[in-house]
Amino acid sequence: MGKKILLEHVNVEGIHTYEVYRKVGGYASVEKALKMAPNDIVEEVKKSGLRGRGGAGFPTGMKWSFIDKKSGRPRHLVCNADESEPGTFKDRYLMEKLPHLLVEGMITSSIALEANLSYIYIRGEYMWVYRILERAINEAYANGWLGKNIKGSGYDLDLHVTCGAGAYICGEETALIESLEGKRGNPRIKPPFPAVVGLYGNPTVVNNVESLMNIPWIVENGGEEYAKIGVGRSTGTKLISASGNIRKPGVYEIELGITVEDFVMSDEWCGGMQTDRPLKACVPGGSSVPILPAHLLFKTAKDETRLMTYESMSDGGFATGSMIGSGGFIVYDDRQCVVRNTWNFSRFYHHESCGQCSPCREGTGWLEKVTWRLEHGYGSMADIDLLWDIQRKIEGNTICPLGDAAAWPVAAAIRHFRHEFEYHVRYPEKVKDRKHFEHEPWEQVKHLMTKQEAVLV
């Protein structure tokens, strides 16, 4: 068993209650942090090498050091619990099981940032988790960990939970801030960054649930201890939420640095494939990251063993690599159709585009339309190039990264599975059956593609 930082106590009976959580050492990091100089806490987090667990992997300590402490304006810490990236369900697990670890992480981090008013923003669908957090926060107030003059330190902190209402875009940090202000979730143009102008115009740090839950351990044990776990610049543990055609879908805490093959095949984690149908592809970091064909999953293009680290997962760049992203690890066997899946993702991004910028609003619409017609047997060879062209025109031309997130999966699918797109054009009558690859997997039909036929355009 690997080291557990977040899930060490997850199976302790009643761990969601204050009493039990406190008995196993909960809130010790707050006691320690209250005696430290805030900037020393930031230094420890820098030393830990912790990288944001929300998807982008930006170093947390560095982000904290950008918060404007000079202007004298009130500061805020906002926890991003909007978790909506397809494939990702780790934050929900953490909050359901260990609500007090999040509250503790929020308090300790707020001390470091010298923030006196902080919020947890949770997606509206997680309403029962919202109630769990409300209860935990009330317990923390009742026991003197929140409110005025916490434990006689002179430090005041108010912490509240608030919810969204069904909009993936509110996971983007500036859209989240807008939503938290009671508005539509339209991302803001950056700069200014939230660290300078954030919630209510005040300096604000937005961090993912899992990032913040690592803070208590780092403060208690020191950044250097944390940095000893993992490999290179991928320090610590990471929660991976595994889904798709594997035997044991679920949430796993891994030490960064285990091999991808072990993660998929070992009984400690995914437990191998769901049935005897072979592995076809994997989206290793949530729907926004490039899909990897089976032959690039366990090994990199350089034939090196691929590891569960930020660096190894992205080895080969977008040509032959992917990203660890949010840790949403989706496995596909050969019953699944890459074209159908690409249409599914494109529909998602079109549905979730906030509509502010035309490349994203219009582009995601076209991605959905063209992938739909290819999947349903109405596409042409020219459509494949058209898709490529559309995604390229979205990427980099939008206010927020949702545009890129919509473009990348399409680009990667065409890059690695162009033959499947072409099959859909050449054999429309076969793909009109929704379960075409379930009945006739690619391996059985690929010989058809070597037949010379009049080129269909």
Partner: protein, 178 residues
Amino acid sequence: MSLNVKTQQPVVISEKTLARVAELKSRFPEGKHKSALLTVLHEVQDENNDWLTVDAMDKIAELLNIKPIEVYEVASFYSMYNQKPVGKYMFEFCRTSCCVTRGAEDLIEYTCNKLGVKEGEVTPDGLFSVKGVECLGACGYAPMLQLGDFYHEFLTPEKMDQLIEDCKAGKVEKLSKV
């Protein structure tokens, strides 16, 4: 958005909800009470047959001391607010990739056939509606649906039959109220 003025229903906002609104407002600084809007919309929708009339939204504007348009534009942006009547039991199936690998499409088809509705429709008795929604953060527990505040996971046709029966018998809890 379709602001439905014809199909009206009286707005219900109980004392308990009013007290809740006051508590929610107190979570935000003076002058920033608009921040409570999303949560208040949920509360009021829950109390009014799961959808928001114009009157309900106007009432919310009054409670938060903001303009009605500020409520409408938010209500129309977020997918969880309904501006038309929905079934008493609205099955919101996740239709996104991970759930599809585990048979979500079959299950949605099965349920629609069983209830005799298409996605987005309400059964004539007003009891059920079916909606396809995007990833609900239950990808490893697929296929699944949301019903009110709760998730129903690892579904099969048999479990679906049972859930429908339980709904008809009034045995299914929708709200995770405090």
